[in-house]
């Protein structure tokens, strides 16, 4: 069964002020209204200004900032990155200046733009997730929270929460109780059943899902005979993971009735369309930003061209369309 109409065209979709020939691009991700379906993957776009020389932030559907924790985190021992075939491993370890710094120093930057800001949050305990959400609840300029229960690069918390439907749900319930902001819950691909975790967090109050986070991997330096990364394992991202990510979006779309932000190796509009056709209502560009700092714009323009060429008047009609 096609769920094409799962996301009704959001109220704001007419706002782009375009004539009838321009397709509707606006999507509603669980209460976050995006003028188009293209956003960025947390941790690959910094805190906003880094890519401003290349991309007009106003043209993005949303900006998702780097993962934030309650207290500042120094991050992991380097090396933190290694290139792999059509991908890369990272083990940043959530280096960030902490939530207070985010609120006072970083969020004000976005006042000059007309773009929803989604804050990606991570905790080491359920309580930390809840306090983070509580602290951000009434902060101006936040469109929603992305709850990262899937970071493979921190010792405590992180992926462990996302590996089990019950603990995942527990985190989401606590966050849900602490804030009225739209909650996008970010799932880990390192699980036997992504649909079980998705169903768990849906039940616990998620408004939307984002997937996938990175796949746990590692590389070994055969000269030194030691793991390359300072933390041994890291998270695999980039084109290499795309088939796995598309599959998971497909599976989750079938089972869970929440809007999905799809990501994992999106380099081009064609890649993004795979996710949309599999069931993602929005797409996030991650590692591709490093390779092509204008990747988000290329994706956006390519999606628009596809809609026009194929006479599709509303992007929402494509969401999940490959399910037939």
């Amino acid at each position: 069964m096609s769920k094409e109409s799962k996301n009704g065209t959001p109220a704001g979709s007419g706002k782009n002020g375009r004539g009838d020939k321009n397709p509707v691009l606006a999507v509603d991700i669980g209460g976050i209204f995006m003028k188009n379906p293209v956003t960025v993957a947390s941790g690959t776009f910094g805190f906003g200004p880094e890519y401003a020389p290349y991309v007009d932030l106003n043209r993005l559907g949303a900006v998702v900032v780097k993962g934030i924790t309650l207290r500042p985190r120094p991050g992991n021992l380097p090396p933190r990155i290694v290139e792999t075939p059509a991908g890369m491993l990272n083990a940043i370890g959530l280096q960030n200046p902490g939530v207070d710094h985010l609120v006072t120093e970083i969020l004000p930057y976005f006042k000059q733009f007309d773009v929803p800001v989604i804050v990606n949050i991570a905790g080491e305990t359920v309580e930390e997730y809840a306090s983070l959400a509580g602290k951000l609840d009434r902060v101006a300029g936040i469109a929603g929270l992305e709850v990262n229960i899937s970071c493979p690069n921190v010792k405590k918390g992180g992926m462990q929460f996302g590996s089990d439907p019950l603990t995942a749900a527990e985190v989401v319930r606590a966050v849900r109780a602490a804030t009225g902001l739209p909650l996008v819950v970010k799932l880990s691909p390192n699980v036997t059943s992504i649909t079980a975790v998705a169903a768990g967090v849906a039940e616990a109050g998620a408004d939307a899902l984002s997937l996938i986070n990175t796949i746990l991997g590692m590389a070994i330096d055969v000269k030194r005979r030691r793991p390359v990364l300072g933390t041994v394992t890291g998270g695999l991202s980039g084109p290499a993971v795309r088939p796995v990510a598309v599959r998971m979006v497909w599976q989750v779309y079938k089972e869970v009735k929440l809007p999905i932000v799809g990501m994992g190796g999106i380099m081009s509009a064609a890649d993004a369309l795979e996710f949309i056709l599999a069931g993602a209502a929005a797409v996030a560009v991650g590692t591709a930003n490093f390779v092509n700092p204008r990747a988000t714009m290329d994706v956006l323009e390519g999606i628009e061209a596809y809609l026009v060429e194929n006479g599709v008047r509303d992007i929402n009609k494509l969401v999940g369309a490959a399910h037939g």
Binding site: G46, Y51, P53, I81, I92, P239, N292, P293
Partner: protein, 260 residues
Amino acid sequence: MSVLAEARILKQEEVAPGCHRMLLQAPEAAGRAAPGQFMHVRCGSSADPLLRRPLSVHDVDRGKGTLTLLYRAAGRGTALLAGLGPGAGISLMGPLGRGFSLPAGAGLRVALAAGGIGVAPLYFLLKELVSRDFFVYVLVGAQTAEDLLCGDDFKLLGSRTSFATDDGSCGHKGPVTDLLESLLASGGVDLVYACGPPPMLKRVAGLLTGTGVPGEISLERHMGCGVGACLSCVCKVRSGAYRRVCADGPVFPVEEVVWE
């Protein structure tokens, strides 16, 4: 501000075994680059290799709108670059990073110490220093005489250039830091800039410690974004924090860097 552009290769030559100089038509980047900054270069259009490679700005000609890279074919990415001929296009991002801070005073005596391909950013720096009438000692090290890079170019710029090679086939036999050590001992240096492999830079740091002579070094780290967004290229600084080599560097005051 950095730009993203497709640059055309005007010329490419192997200037020493495995070392290549690439002249590019890149007017915007050339117009903006400062010594010590780097370009983030895509090697081909395949997803493998995926990431860009950071390469220092070696020289610019603002009039002609050209920019030069000097690089060693160290692995797959740089080997792909080395295989390109005139007319081919490559995708460049840059200039990126914080380059060398040029001294404000006049008449300073400056030492530039380059190890191996570390010559790359120092040539551009030298040109800038010479244009400001500083007195510059250039110390160039390499494994053998034939690996020495840019020796003649340095001399042409009128600097006092000395060489060191591991095998003694040209100049001093031993590390280039030996030359720096003597120079420092002679007391004739007000400021040091260095670029080269980590052991060399660590030695430079050691030599400068306690001398009161300030120094700046250019670091290398594996990079993702090159613009400060991914936090993968960090080095530890004295405060204990990690700083981004791509955005907070690649040039750091020598005493800032913690050698792990």
